[in-house]
């Protein structure tokens, strides 16, 4: 047994309103650079929908994740020799068309067009070729079921359950069902991207399980993009290196939640630690029946209150404050104690570590629309069983098609609503509601505190990295590294951003000195004005 700590996330889909704030703030923080225009470390998909990149869940086509071959775990895209044989041209790499061609608008036209009969128009321009383009797709083109009847039926999850339930499923969806699925990197326990990386540049951090790309070791073979079944590793087409969600590790290390969590309007994200047995990961991921994978994954997560676990964890070098954080972990409670959080696509066998509380609200809404009391326990329980089609869809997402755990999760959420309603209305709480879903009254109440009250400090239990290593956090980079921005590396002699990066502090010092002593006033030709860095000298900086 070897215990490792894993920083994990739970998202409560019941609360997601699809506002994309997480995506936008993430993009501003991490991917607003040249070469990353098409990249969204965090994206919010409308389900049913095609996803981003399009149909990424169709592993028959994209060959991501792991598969069992004669009982042994193997990358679906092929073993070691196959990987090397395909190194000159990766046959399963999504092209830009599968994501989307990023664009900007010719805003300058609005200002500089001569006076004329017609209003000037800012035409869309491709950020890849710089030429005018027709916008035909984007990262969330089918948002809110946009293009529904044409696009949604091609949802790979819908396709996969169509055999079981026939055309009925599509009709029901069109009438009653849609929800949002925010996605980031899963920081898997058994990451297929890491396994696929020929250079050994990708790694899982021993301390917190965050999966990262070593930019100095990446050689741009692109196998990670294929390996990841969630398509959450991206290829920076300017630097020729892979990049991915870092779980905002510079923030986590100082105890702050990730940008997507911090800015989430619905406050639906939870961050905390799991303790797990690293030596048993491969064995768990090799579970023969896909439907047993969820249980195998849950069994990997160790009880942080058990003395034997704590003792072993100390032997494995996990600091005391981390053990305490693991005991207070909201994600452990949601996934294991209450059993309401489920992983996304466990059948990919990567042991994903971003979990989801399935959405109950559409069920409630549907019930209310029929004129029933939507929060009555009996009505709710009945509705969950009656609305079997959404459950099958949810099972296709979260449990490899096994309806049981999804139903249990929804029943517990429903029970919580019904139980709490009695309290809110001043009636006697009914213990039988809790019992009917296999929970105690205390557990239901705690779950309610965590899900409904959702205090900041309850949602994010993040132990900091140790002060002894704090100097490593200096000079981690600058979010102003945008094209032409003050932090942007020059295009070096060997291509984009080659050469040794200049420490941000040094660069800022010289840039400021130069600006303050310059006699040249910078003329206004700006396409995008950067007021953030304007120091009052001349006109604001271009771009």
């Amino acid at each position: 047994m070897r215990i490792m700590a894993q920083m994990a996330m739970v998202m409560n889909l019941d609360k997601c309103i699809g506002c994309h704030t997480c995506s936008v703030t993430c993009k501003q923080a991490w991917t607003n650079r040249a070469g990353m225009e098409y990249v969204w470390f965090n994206n919010v998909e409308t389900r049913p929908g095609l996803g981003y990149p399009r149909t990424y869940q169709d592993q028959k086509r994209w060959r991501g994740g792991w598969t069992l071959k004669r009982g042994k775990l193997k990358l679906r895209s092929g073993g070691r020799f196959r990987r090397l044989a395909e190194i000159f041209s990766n046959p399963k790499l999504p092209t830009l068309q599968d994501y989307y061609e990023p664009w900007t608008y010719d805003y300058d036209m609005l200002l500089s067009a001569p006076q004329g009969e017609h209003t000037p128009v800012a035409r869309p321009k491709s950020l890849i070729t710089g030429k005018p383009m027709k916008i035909e797709w984007s990262a969330n083109w089918d948002d809110d079921l946009g293009g529904g009847p044409e696009l949604a039926p091609d949802d790979p999850v819908l396709v996969s359950i169509r055999d079981q339930v026939g055309d009925r499923v599509k009709m029901e969806f069109e009438q009653a069902f849609m929800f949002y699925l925010p996605r980031i990197c899963e920081h898997c326990l058994n990451p297929a991207c890491v396994a696929a990386c020929p250079s050994g540049a990708m790694y899982k951090r021993v301390e917190d399980g965050i999966v990262l790309v070593d930019q100095d070791r990446c050689r741009g073979w692109r196998m990670c993009v294929t390996g990841c079944p969630y398509k959450k590793v991206y290829f920076n087409h300017r630097t020729g290196k892979a990049e991915k969600c870092t779980l905002c590790y510079p923030r986590l290390e100082v105890g702050l939640p990730t940008v997507c969590s911090e800015t989430c309007v619905g406050r639906l994200r939870y961050l905390g630690l799991f303790l797990y047995d690293a030596d048993r990961v491969t064995e768990a991921a090799s579970t023969p029946d896909e439907k047993d994978l969820l249980q195998a994954q849950l069994d990997l997560l160790l009880d942080p209150h058990e003395p034997a676990v704590l003792e072993q964890a100390r032997r494995d070098g996990i600091p005391e404050d981390w053990l305490e954080a693991a005991q207070n972990s909201p994600v452990y409670r949601l996934a294991k104690v209450y059993g309401i959080a489920l992983p996304l696509h466990p059948e990919y066998r990567t042991m994903p570590m971003v979990w989801y509380v399935p959405p109950l609200s559409p069920v409630v809404d549907a019930l209310r629309d029929t004129g029933n009391d939507a929060e009555d326990a009996g009505n709710l329980f009945g509705a969950i069983n009656a609305l079997r089609i959404p459950i099958e869809y949810l099972a296709g997402l979260f449990t490899a098609g096994d309806i049981g755990p999804v139903r249990r999760s929804l029943l517990r959420l429903a029970a919580m609503r019904a139980y709490m309603r009695d309290i809110n209305l001043g009636r006697d709480p009914r213990a039988e509601i809790a019992e009917s879903v296999g929970m105690t009254e205390e557990a239901i109440y705690e779950m309610y505190r965590l899900l409904a009250i959702a205090k900041y400090d309850d949602r994010y239990v993040i132990p900091t990295a140790h002060a002894e290593s704090a100097r490593d956090l200096e000079e981690v980079g600058c979010s102003l590294d945008i094209a032409g921005g003050p932090g942007q590396y020059e295009s070096g002699p060997f291509g984009e951003a080659s050469g040794r990066p200049i420490p941000v502090a040094v660069e800022n010092f010289h840039a400021l000195k130069q600006r303050q002593t310059t006699e040249v006033i910078i003329p206004v030709e700006a396409v995008r004005v950067n007021l953030l860095n304007w120091d009052g000298m001349g006109a604001p900086d271009e771009r």
Partner: protein, 244 residues
Amino acid sequence: MTTWDILLWAVLPYVTIAVFVVGTIWRYRYDKFGWTTRSSQLYEGRLMRVASPLFHIGILAVLVGHVVGLLIPESWTNATGLSEDAYHVIAVGLGLVAGAFTLFGIAMLIYRRRTVGPVFAATTRNDKTMYVFLVAAILLGLLTTLLASGLIGDGYNYRETVSPWFRSIFYLNPQVVLMAEAPTSFHVHAIAGMLIFIIWPFTRLVHAFSAPVGYLVRPYVVYRSRGPHDAGARIPRKGWEKVG
């Protein structure tokens, strides 16, 4: 033996080796971040699917051909009972096939680079220079093979002059006279070859050194510590950690 002979066949080889070795070490230390294939597959996949393996497999076969032809002395192959004529036929046959693969591959790659908008936009001046040198070396190599094969004009047994000269460089006793005797086509190709090695460390060609053969023996999942300075964490062992 003229001054030019000495400069070209005794001085230039060592300059090449020095620049190639020192340049590569310098580039690796100075520019790890720029060390990548700079793949353009994200922009365009269909042409690349055919052209890139064609070129790379071709050029690797060409490399093997050069190693065999230059490093293995004629006396060794004779000793195995392989006659000069038989060796010649095999070498020219395989060489032309490999050369054709390479040439066809790189022709397609350059066509793709020029005609596919995003790929062309991502092409640096450095890339263009590199292509000139690389294509020159490949074309001159093919021409030399054709001329020496006897298919056009008289054949030529380079294993009695060029190969011993090549080996003599590494003995630190360059046999300039031997190389000076060789036909002009060999001279030009050798110079083009040395030039491509001189610019090698400063172009995207360095990705050839990153051929990830270590992948075959590595555990699938790599664990790394945040750094050796961490409190609480164990000091990481050298090499890959065995987990699971």
